[in-house]
Amino acid sequence: MKSLVGLWEKNKMDDKEKKQDSLYVKLIPYFEKYGILLLLVIMILVMHILQPDVFLSWRNVTNVFKQISWQSMLALGVFMVIVTAGIDLSVGSIMMLSLMILAIVAKAGAPWFIVVLVPLFAGFLCGLINGLGITLLRMPHPFIMTLGTLYIFRGTGNLISGGTPISGFTDEVRYLGHGRIDLTWLGLEKSQYLPVSLVLIAVVYFVFWVFLNHSRTGKWIYAIGGNPSAARASGINVNKILIIVYSLCGFLSGIGALILAGRTDSGYPNAGLQSELDAIAACIIGGASFFGGRGTVLGVFAGVMIMGILRNGLNLMDVSSFWQQVLIGSIIVLAVYVDVLRRDFGTRK
């Protein structure tokens, strides 16, 4: 009888432990998944309170989305690369080169559907060069290969264009970056349109979310980031997957070029200068880990949004762009510190 009571006591204690354990353990993944969205919502609220008339107006919100449209493509590409524990420093240059090729092809009078496809193809090829260099030339780290192509691609872009801007594209070419979806049939005013680039972001991000989370290749990308030798031992062709990842990253930079062409109506030598750093920053703020295997598409989107909203909000408040730099830098450090804390709690040593 005594032992029964003892057993019962013990069970009770176990239950108690389980309860605490489960609450604690259950909260971590949610925080990991949605913590960054929480930060985004807080930022939006703060900006709204500071700028109640302007910030959440239709015009300003669509503006934010238009501003982040091409950056969001670069960030998504860099994110996939970071998941494999790699890095791509060349995305800004890939975008610039694709944009210049687009401009030259457009000026040569090619039909619009060719002009639209050319930057995507060019971006893909640039990414393929990165991927082949990293795997076949066995570069010690992707940093080196893509640092090289950062110079090579931008130099090539300047060579083929003579380093001067080329302007003037047709409406079809500009549609993705500049197009508007009329919403007057919903009873909204003419000024309350939906930018095509916003729809494009949503579609591209959704497609890549499905790709990364629900396809075998996507799962293998995460596996390579988690433990490349495990992936190799599982019969996964790691080099092939890496080439695919860098090629897709280049392809997304090509989409970025197409959007930028629409927004600015010109190809110009400084396009995307230092945007690779913005892209990396967005990934890091969004919870991607430099060690690979960690991060979500939703997180990257939140990272891009946070940077966009910060810039937009500070512009609205007339804060100097120097302060913007300081703030964005601080957010990067803070976001990674939060990630360090989370790892301390979440992982068994």
Partner: protein, 249 residues
């Protein structure tokens, strides 16, 4: 438990050079159904090289591999997996950022078709994982737990579960208990015995005499890349085997 059982894997005259270094010279090895072979040897004796040859990671410079009586040339780990030969690596070869189930099926994920696209079948992964862990009596909270949240012994169990998820006939384990706490060693050794009882041939590479003498039926020693000694376990002793490792007969 003896050589009367069906011969599963045989390596004949395996030789492997790395440049001018001879890692293995004329090494022979046999494993039967339901048998556990212990492979011992000092560091650099060629144990790991031999296992990598068997799993298809290295191509032997000379010699042949026979699986169920037929000669096979292995070009990659995929080839050996297709034959039913699995390897449990010392560094566990698990991706810590993925859940248990996805690790077990990594590289061989079940998919379902939606239209012409293939999507991962998470439900099937979960079901198959639970059933498989149940079969091997491996206790974890859930198949969705990430591997980095597991203890060393649980990780080793997952690695072994992974190697046997696809009807493996021979499982090769490199130092299966090396990184484990003492109370977890027993669980892993139990798991090896369970595998043997299902007819799987097991090769265990280990430094620990306790492991060898708990699960193995036969033990062979490599010394400087050659077959040095071999015996049924009941016909030898710990001291003798330790002597073999140091090159003394």
């Amino acid at each position: 438990m003896t050589s009367t059982n069906k011969l599963l894997l045989e390596a004949k005259g395996i030789t492997k050079y790395f440049g001018t270094i001879t890692a293995l010279e004329n090494v022979n090895l046999k494993v039967h159904e339901g048998e556990c072979l212990g492979v011992v040897g000092d560091n650099g004796a060629g144990k790991s090289t031999l296992m990598k040859v068997l799993s298809g990671l290295y191509k032997p410079s000379a010699g042949a591999l026979f699986f169920e009586g037929k000669e096979h040339i292995l070009d990659s780990p995929k080839d050996s997996q297709n034959l039913g030969l699995e390897m449990v690596y010392q560094d566990l070869a698990l991706a810590g950022n993925l859940p248990i189930g996805e690790n077990i099926f990594l590289g061989r994920e079940p998919t379902k078709n939606i239209g012409f696209l293939k999507f991962l079948d998470f439900k099937k992964i979960q079901e198959m994982t639970s059933a498989h862990l149940e079969k091997l009596k491996i206790n974890v909270k859930s198949a969705d737990q990430k591997v980095e949240e597991l203890s060393g012994g649980q990780r080793q169990a997952v690695a072994i579960a992974r190697s046997t998820a696809f009807n493996a006939k021979v499982v090769i384990m490199d130092e299966p208990t090396a990184a484990l706490a003492i109370k977890e060693v027993g669980k892993v050794l139990d798991l090896i015995n369970k595998l043997k009882s299902t007819g799987v041939g097991v090769i265990v590479i280990s430094h620990r005499m306790d492991d060898i003498f708990t699960v193995c039926d036969r033990v062979m020693a490599l010394f400087q890349g050659t077959n040095f000694a071999e015996s049924q376990l009941d016909k030898t002793s710990r001291d003798e085997v330790i002597g073999w490792i140091m090159g003394k007969k």
